[in-house]
């Protein structure tokens, strides 16, 4: 958990102090997916980290955190997203170009 949190140390400096941001990840087994999202939410709190694949409202948020363990998916998950910065270890800052 501690090392997982450390992955977000750099990106945290580029995120707002509060409010809601989107979250996108590569497809995983269901439980693994929820673990990855919950770890990210825990690491980045008090930001509200809303998973775009679970909550459609998350597609409205201009800033999105990418948490990819294998590869950046090419499917619907990435629609309207442009890559802003790669922080290494699979952590990306993305922007919602539709907003």
């Amino acid at each position: 958990m501690t090392s997982y949190e450390a992955r977000y140390d750099e990106i945290r400096k580029h995120l707002p102090a509060h409010g809601a941001i989107g979250y996108v990840s590569d497809p995983k087994e269901h439980n693994e997916d929820r673990f990855a999202w919950a770890f990210t939410q825990y690491s980045l709190s008090p930001l509200l980290v809303i998973d775009r694949s679970v909550n459609p409202k998350a597609r409205d948020f201009p800033i999105v955190v990418g948490n990819f363990h294998r590869a950046i998916p090419g499917d619907d998950r990435m629609r309207d997203l442009s890559l802003e910065r790669d922080f290494g270890n699979g952590v990306f800052l993305l922007r919602n170009v539709a907003k």
């Binding site: 958990m1 501690t2 509060h18 673990f35 919950a38 825990y42 709190s45 008090p46 509200l48």
Partner: protein
Amino acid sequence: MNVLIAFLSFLLPVAAGTLLVPTHLSGGAGTVADRGFRISLGAGIGLGAGSLLYFLLLSLSAGVSPARLFLFEAILFSSLAFLAVRYAEKKTIEALPETEGKAFAIPRWALRTVAAVFIFVLAAAILTEVFLTFARPHGGWDAWAIWNLRARFLFRGGEYWRDAFSPLLAEIHPDYPLLLPGLVARGWTYLGRDAVSFPAAVAMFYTVSTIGVLASSLALLRGSFQGLLAGVALACTPIFLRHGASQYADVPFGYYLLGTFALLHLARISRGRRAMSLAGFTAGLACWTKNEGVILLAALAAVWIIGVLASSERELEIRRAGWFVLGALPPLLALAYLKFGLAPPGDMTAEFDPAAAWERIVEPARYLEVGAAVAREAIFQLHLPLIAGYLLFSGALIRKGERGAVLRLWASLSLIIAAYFFVYVITSKPLAWHLGTSLSRLMTQLFPSLLFAFFLTATAVTVQAAGRRQAVAAPEPGRRGKSPMKRRGGR
């Protein structure tokens, strides 16, 4: 330095709670059991009050600074401590009701042996908690996904702390009560950072204090041997220790549940109205810990109504219930504000569909599945057959003046178990998944109170007076559950 600050942040509410509890109980004899009960229960009551105060300060302002928190707490807790000390000076010490009826007499060396075993097992339990915490410093899934996450929102959120209850976080239950997150955020506020060690220390506190409340309350009511034996039984239960170190809210909830039952028992046998108000406060803190607290209140209310209908002292019963409600009010008001003013509706209520629930109610297979899971948990995790075996061996013998109180305790626990069972029967979630992820925790919540009820029902054990043989007492006519052990006069 941090350890010192964390320790001091514990000390103020713990000291106030420990001083305050005696003023709400019939005076004790100043024995180890008496002091143990007052410290282990008073500490949790004080910390529960600390969580409530933190939430109150947050609600009244945008963020809480350590200085403001300390000032507020110092004024309140030292006033309470001062009043407690003043009151205690004037208080006439009365002994707890005398033991009557039969009891086993054991030689003093047997008591010393059990005391040594208790100390050894307690030390081993604390070490186990430390090792488990090192293995998972952030606790289990629910600890960081729900309880400590919410504490982070309260601590890190500043003026945006209410984001913790955003409907966007519906997946992680923003409606859950705040005793644990409030307590952890309070400690972090004093520390100035969200140290991983603090929620671990809180978890350890509740685990050890639950053992303390169980052992000391039974030692007060049934003698040291029974109390120590119950403490050993709880401290030797691996699933209790595992859930304790997981930093979930189930062990703290079990602690307040046990505290409520112990205080209600003391209040019923001593007819103390202050003990009733303290029982109300611990029941309220149980509600402030987990949503299951509502089931506790409903069970207590149902048993109380039946008791009032059957009682010849209705006016007294109603007055005592008034004291209970008065004690429960502060945490219940905080809970009402959380539920109706801050958080979205819980998933269980939001997803409830009466027609679908009815279909599940009339499906016998669900009852069998839940029953089998409960039996597996009771046998293989909580080892209840061992406890039942002890009861069979010692025989059941409830003291005359306490029969009503013990009966009410068993009735309340049975209703809570029935309610938990029924929740599984009607759950809209996949049953196997729901049982697999929560049954063990729910049974762990109830286990300390079940042990309390078991040992109150078992025949009391007293220590033989030195150099004096006790007369063998004849079994009371018509008494069931006679023991194969030789029953002796208790005093």
